[in-house]
C-alpha cells in the first residue's frame, strides 16, 4: 500500500460508485416506460461473463504481458477454485480452496 493518493484515482473511485448506482437502478431511474431494443436485452445475457473472463484470464495466465511458461501456482489455484464452485456453489468456498492450493505452491515451491 502506498501512502499517496492522487485526485485522478479518487475521481475514478467516485465514478465507479456512480456506476454502481446507475447499473443497480437502471430500469427504475426514470418512471416512464422505456422499452429496451431486443438486441440490447439479448446482449445483457453475455456481456457480464465476457467482462469477468476478459479481466480474470490475463491475470491468471500472463506475467508481464507474456503467456506463462511452465508451472504457475495461479493456474492450479484458479482451476481448484472453479472446480470447487461446481461442487459447493459458493464463492466463499471457491476462495478458500483456491487459496489453499495456491499458497503452498506459491510460498512453498516458489511457483
Amino acid at each position: 500500500m502506498s501512502g499517496t493518493s492522487d485526485l485522478w484515482t479518487l475521481a475514478v473511485i467516485v465514478g465507479l460508485a456512480a456506476v454502481t448506482v446507475i447499473t443497480r437502478s437502471f430500469f427504475f431511474i426514470s418512471s416512464r416506460p422505456w422499452p429496451l431494443p431486443r438486441w440490447a436485452e439479448r446482449g445483457l445475457q453475455y456481456a457480464p461473463i465476457a467482462a469477468l473472463a476478459a479481466v480474470v484470464l490475463p491475470e491468471v495466465m500472463m506475467t508481464q504481458g507474456q503467456l506463462i511458461h511452465g508451472w504457475d501456482a495461479r493456474v492450479f489455484g484458479a482451476i481448484a477454485g472453479a472446480a470447487t464452485f461446481y461442487v459447493r456453489r459458493s464463492v466463499l468456498a471457491t476462495i478458500v480452496v483456491g487459496m489453499g492450493v495456491y499458497l503452498p505452491l506459491h510460498l512453498g515451491l516458489g511457483w
Binding site: S25, V55, V56, L67, A78, L92, M99
Partner: protein
C-alpha cells in the same frame, strides 16, 4: 431505505434482517478479502477506504484494481466496471414494479444497496410486487432490513481487510484471493451454453489482444464475445438444419 425511521420500525424490517443474517459471515469473508486485495494492489489507504465505503460492488472493485494500477484511462475503468455490473441492470428490470411507486431518490437509494444476495433473497420471498400501500410498505421494509445487514457486513469487513493488509507481506500473494472471487462469480454466471461460449471467446480475445494500449483488450474482448453470441443465437438449432438438409 434503512435511513428512514418509519421503515426501520416496520416489523418486516426485522424479518429482512433475520433473513440476511445467515449470509452475513460469507459476505464478510468476501469483503475482508476484497479489502486486503484493494490495499495490496497498491491503492493508498485513503483510496482503498473510499472505495470500500462508496463503490459497494465487489466484482467491479476487483476488476477495476488492475486497470487503475496500470494507469488505464478513466473511461476504460468505468466501462469495465459497467460491463461487470451489467447483471444488476437485468436485476433492475425485475425490481422495477416493486420500487417504481417510490420517490426518485428513494428508488436510487434502494437500487444502490441491493446487491446480488439481497436481490436473490428479496425476490425469493416476494415473488409478486405488492398492489396495496400496506404490502408495499412491508416489501420496502424487508428489502431495507436485508440490505442493512448486507451493507454493514460488507463495508465493515472491507475496512478491516484494509487495516490488516498492512501486516501482511506483499510476496505472500494474498491479492490472488480477489481473482479467485471473480472466478467464483464467473462460474456462477455460466448458466447457459452461449454464456460459456462468451466467456471462452472473451478470454482468448483478452489474452490475444493483450498488447493493445490502455487495457483496451478488455473492451475489445467483451465486444467480440457479445457480437459472436448474438449472431450464434440467430442460427436455427443444429438438428433442425440437419433435417432440412435431408428433406
Amino acid at each position: 431505505m434503512f435511513l428512514t425511521e418509519a421503515v426501520r420500525r416496520h416489523p418486516e424490517f426485522r424479518v429482512g434482517l433475520r433473513a440476511m443474517a445467515p449470509q452475513a459471515p460469507g459476505v464478510a469473508a468476501w469483503g475482508l478479502m476484497t479489502g486486503v486485495a484493494m490495499a495490496k494492489s497498491g491503492l493508498s489507504l485513503a483510496e482503498s477506504s473510499l472505495m470500500a465505503l462508496l463503490v459497494y460492488a465487489g466484482s467491479s472493485q476487483l476488476a477495476s484494481l488492475p486497470l487503475i494500477i496500470a494507469g488505464a484511462p478513466a473511461w476504460v475503468v468505468l466501462a469495465t466496471g459497467f460491463c461487470v455490473n451489467l447483471r444488476f441492470v437485468v436485476f433492475s428490470l425485475h425490481l422495477r414494479p416493486y420500487l417504481i411507486h417510490l420517490p426518485w431518490w428513494q428508488r436510487l437509494a434502494h437500487g444502490y444497496v441491493t446487491a446480488d444476495m439481497s436481490y436473490a433473497i428479496f425476490t425469493h420471498r416476494f415473488t409478486q410486487p405488492a398492489t396495496d400501500a400496506e404490502g408495499r410498505a412491508a416489501q420496502e421494509a424487508f428489502l431495507a432490513g436485508n440490505a442493512a445487514i448486507n451493507w454493514s457486513s460488507w463495508v465493515g469487513a472491507s475496512l478491516l481487510g484494509i487495516a490488516l493488509a498492512n501486516f501482511i507481506p506483499q510476496h505472500w500473494g494474498l491479492g490472488f484471493a480477489g481473482i479467485l472471487c471473480l472466478v467464483g462469480i464467473l462460474c456462477s454466471l455460466a448458466t447457459t451454453r452461449l454464456r460459456v461460449v462468451s466467456a471462452i471467446v472473451a478470454s482468448i480475445a483478452a489474452v490475444a489482444a493483450y498488447s493493445l494500449p490502455l487495457k483496451l483488450n478488455i473492451v475489445m474482448a467483451i465486444a467480440v464475445a457479445v457480437l459472436l453470441c448474438l449472431s450464434l443465437e440467430r442460427l436455427p438449432p443444429a438438428r433442425g438444419r440437419g433435417k432440412e438438409a435431408l428433406e
